[in-house]
Structures are given as C-alpha cells and as structure tokens.
Symmetry: C2
Subunit: 345 residues, 2 copies
Amino acid sequence: MAVQKEITIYDIAREAGVSTATVSRILSNTTGVKQDKRNRVQAIVDKYNFKPSAIARGLSETRSKVIGMLCPDVRNAYYANIFMECERLAFEKDYTLVLNNTFTRESLEVAFIEKLIEQRVESLIVCGGLADWRPLPPRYRETLSRFAKRIPVVIAGKCDMENCYQVCLNHAEGMRLAVKHLATLGHKRIAFLHGYSFIYQTQDKLAAFRLTMEEENLPTRDEYIVDAGEFNEQSGLMGMKRLLSLTEPPTAVIATNDLMAAGALQAILRLGYAVPNDISIVGFDDSLITDLTEPHISSVHYDYALYGKMLIDTALLAIDGQECERFTMLPTSLTVKESCRKIEA
Amino acid sequence: MAVQKEITIYDIAREAGVSTATVSRILSNTTGVKQDKRNRVQAIVDKYNFKPSAIARGLSETRSKVIGMLCPDVRNAYYANIFMECERLAFEKDYTLVLNNTFTRESLEVAFIEKLIEQRVESLIVCGGLADWRPLPPRYRETLSRFAKRIPVVIAGKCDMENCYQVCLNHAEGMRLAVKHLATLGHKRIAFLHGYSFIYQTQDKLAAFRLTMEEENLPTRDEYIVDAGEFNEQSGLMGMKRLLSLTEPPTAVIATNDLMAAGALQAILRLGYAVPNDISIVGFDDSLITDLTEPHISSVHYDYALYGKMLIDTALLAIDGQECERFTMLPTSLTVKESCRKIEA
DNA sequence: CAGATATTTTTAACCGGTTACAAACCGAAA
DNA sequence: TTTCGGTTTGTAACCGGTTAAAAATATCTG
C-alpha cells in the first residue's frame, strides 16, 4: 500500500484554473507570474500543504541533488565529525547527503558505489576505508576510477588517483607540532605508537616523526616505533605495554589517534606509573574522548568545520563544472591539555 | 555540466533490437523472458556498465525506497550506534537511509521533515530530539502528526502520539538493575545524577530509581537526586562536585549516561577520592567510552543490533501496510566492569 | 494441420514534475 | 485603430523507467 495518493501539481493547477506550467513557475519562484495568480495558487498549495515530488523534479531536471558519502564506521568520532559538518552544509545548499558505512570491506564499498550510481548522486565523498590503503586494492581502484570519470569524486585523504579531488589534513605538520612540543618540554626518549603501516596517514606521520626528531637532534630508536595494528584502544594498551617492558622505556608517547592514546594511558596507569608525571602522552584527532580521561590528553586538532566545508565546496564546484583545486591540504594545530609535563635534564 | 549524458534503457533496447519493456523485465529479473534475449541484453548492459536510474524507477513506481531518519547529533555515540545498525539493515532490504542532524532545534527538525516529504521517503524514524520532550512542543507535534497520517513514523523512544509507532528501551529495567547491583554490594547511600527533567527517559529513570530504592528498603534522599542539566561530561563533573560537597556524600552514583558518568569519575578523582574504593559509579548506554576511562565504568547495556532491527522491521512492515506492534519495549542489561565495589556494613 | 492455449514481446500510457516554444494579452507609439 | 514589443500564460514534449493490454509467436491437442 505504502502511501495514500499524493496530491500533484495537476490537482493544484486544476483547482486554481491555471496550467501546470504556471504552478511549476510559482513553486520554483521564477519571475514572470502575475501577483494575483501567484497568490491564488499559493493559497491552494498551502491549503493542501502540497510539496512537489523531488523524484519527479529529479527526473525532469536529470539531477538528483544528492551527494553520496562513504566512511568505514560513523561510530568512529572522526567520521561522525566530518559527516555532521558535511550534512549541515549540504542541506544549506539544498542537497541531501547519503552516508554509507563500509566497514572497509571491499564488497560493501563496491556495492555502495553501484547503488549510489543508480541513485544518480551528483558527487561522491570518500572518507577513509580502502581509499587510505597503499597500494589501493586493484578492483576498488578500478571501480572508483570508473565512477570518477562520470561524476566528481572527492577523497577526504590522500590517494594516488589522478581523476579524483583530494582534501586532506596535514598530518605531517601535526606530528611536527607534537614532537616539537615534547622536545621543548625536555623529552628525549619519545615513542610513536602507530596503526597499520599500509595506511597513508601512518606513513606520513612516521616520516614526519623521523624527520622532526632529526631536526631536534633526538635519536629515533627503532624499539620506540611500535606498530600496534588496529586503531583502537586495545591496540594502544598492548603497544604501550610493550614500550613499558623495555629496559629503558620512553618518557613520552605520541599515539596515532586518541583511542590509542587512551589505551596507552590505561596501560601506564595499570602498571603503576603516572601521567604526566612519569610519562607524557599526545594523541591525534582531538576528539571528545581526550576530555573524558583523567588527565585530559593533549592532541593534534583538526578544524572539522573547515574540513567539511572544503569537502562540500569542492564537490559543489566540481558538480558545477567549475575549476577547483584538485588537492587541498588543511592545517592542523596542537591542543595542549594535561597529559604532558616538562622533564628535568 | 554535471554529468555526462547517461545511457538509458532506450539505448540498451535499441542496440539489443528489443523493446524497453523487455530490457526492463530483464533488469528487474522478472520471469517470462527467453534465455537467448536475456543473454543478449545482459551482455550489452554489462558492456556499458548500465545501471537503471533509481529516480526514473521511483517516479514510475511512485515509491522512493528511501527511509528518513532524524537524530540530534550523530557525534553522540548512542545515535551513531542506532544509525549504523539501521543503515546496514536498510541496505540489505534495498532501502536507502537518509540521516539528518537536527541539534534538537525546532526549526531544523521541521525543515528536515518537509524536505523528507519532498523526497517522498516511505517512512521516518525519529531518534531523540524534540520527540523526547514532555510535553511535546505544539508546532512540532502538529508537524509530526500531520506527517504520520501520510506515512509511518517510528519513534525510537516513548512519546504520546497515537498515530506513531514506538520502539523504546526499558530504561526502568536498566535503572532497576543498577540500583539492585549497588544494593547487593552493600551500598545504602546511592545518588542519581540525571539530565533535563523534561525528557521522558529522565522521568522514567527517576521513577524507577525511587521505586527500586523503596523495594530495597533504602532511603531516597532528595539531596542525592541531582539535576545536572545537559547530558555531557561537564554536567556530570559539576553535579558530582555538588554531591561530594555534601556533609554525607553518597557511596555510589548512578549517572543517566556514560558521558556524565565519565564526568563524575573525573570529579571524584580530582578531589582525591578513588573509584571504586571510595565511590562506585554506574552509567547508562554502555558505550565505547566506558572502556576508555580508568577504571572502566559499569553501565546499563542496550542491544543496538536488536534496537536497529526493531526500528527497521517496524518501518518496513508499516510501509507494507502490514499489522505490526505499535509499541515495543526492548530489554536492557547491566554490564559489570570495574567501577563498583562491595562496601562493608 | 487447424484451432486452442500458453508464452513471449511490443506498444503505449503513465508516474509528476520542468521548460522550449507558441499563443494570448497588454499598454504605448504610430 | 493598427502595430509593435514585452510580459504572462498555456501546450505539449521530455526526463527514464514500469506495466497493463494487445499482438505476435510458440506449443499442445485431437
């Protein structure tokens, strides 16, 4: 059954004694309609609370006014932030944003893309997932590339696909800020607790870590660079335990995201050490959770509002066929909280 | 410009030398098409990677295959959980779920509903926001009610609108489990740190708190019931400070959600007390954050997978015009972690 | 093999809007 | 009054699918 019979523009036109063209013009606020007709029609529209079908409009204009978005899992605060900003901005521009959770499963990513093609989305924003992998899985690359030839694909990240737009955060800068912050506080034994190394952020952060350590004349010890695997607090906890079991543990740890930082914090506390007194911690993402732990965790901060704006602006410009930046790098900053302490020489 | 000219079913039909009806039948897997034609057409479909327009299909079938969803803010893990489950299930049933963040602003809630009407969504799932308020804001009530007459509206919560479907969690049961758990551990001075009292969950939880305390022969002290306002960790922190400043502070605190529980935990630690040694804590939601704090927080648990399934099942049944439960109450349980301790008499 | 029946295919209307183009209208100038 | 240009309105085609009904074709009977 679904829906009771909806009222259409024909019904409105008949009752107002005008043509559908006139009603259509009034609804879409085109000029060149006499005021009296406009009033008469509007009254009937209001009376029935008529809302024109976006589907019919979409068909006749051959455009959906929909933007698709893929992310691995919106329960992750990072993606929730991006989606929230984009959804808000899209709505302001009269677009609808459709979000799909891919769980980084190739079959799902591909299936969603195919469904979005059917929906005739006007652009696709891809956040994380397989697009972050290096190298890109071939079938995924092929699907995305084929899609990018038809409509603008905006990657929230870095990814070697020449026909996509890219907006990414300056993770290297964030890492640089984190290392310098700790170096300034007198830390020399600094560790980096990272996630999967086949993710581009990991590679960028790691390179920046090594580089900045060198700039600061600090030794980069191999045992201080820990691949903890997944990006969750369990990994952070395990990785930190490994670091604490070293004969000479680090005095400061940079974790690749806040979840791992929180896990590291737990490991430290459980083994009887204190933060920041014994060990300092810096995270990445500056998400809500940095304020839930005791102490609060200093973290590399992103301007999500700006991130969302760049993603949506890029998508809309590209949809419009206008020239726009193919690669944008957004600045990061460091939010200093309570998890780092100056240490004596 | 937008999109390059898309291929249509006419193009396929012409190239295959058949009518569009035949192509349509093949695409929608209807029986009654000869195998040879089926192969021939399928080959051409594959060759061009043709995907039929969901918009055109939607118009001709007068159904959108879209379900709308409203929530205050998907950055809140509770809503992210629900959305994730629903999105997954909707996709399995070949529906698209469109999520809008309303920030509990009346103007936005109404604007989104109107937009969803234009999109001809087949059902609307409302999570929290104004729908949780008691009493319902009149204009909101009116908008929602009008909408509910056209298409099924499913409220994730409790709400006195006779023409809506409702799926809600048994918060009273959760509260009961929390109080009994603490009572069994020997606690007599139990506090309840809650959020806005014009929200139905608050009222349900409060009533259950009083009732269970009475059943356990424990006194409910007015100063142990704290209205902390918003549902965030700041409120939890402030509310807990107030409790700790009493001449006889409670030995256990139940917080209305995990964020507030985490805030309360911070307040306790900052004032030099220990959890669970001095004070026990129970939260609600059993979200990720209960595992990020030290100690992990015991919390009332919801089965989000079941919650999502009930919401989507209800929506789909109602869309189908089938008889289905107008009011479903889902069980809750208590996940015991590390934040509660037995106290000596 | 004719005639009846079952299966496959095509034709054409329909879904509900938009918009190019034609027609009607209106006031001003000739 | 006629003519002209500009404004307002209507007609009808179109967007890209689905599907009822008609037509064509295949299969079965006696």
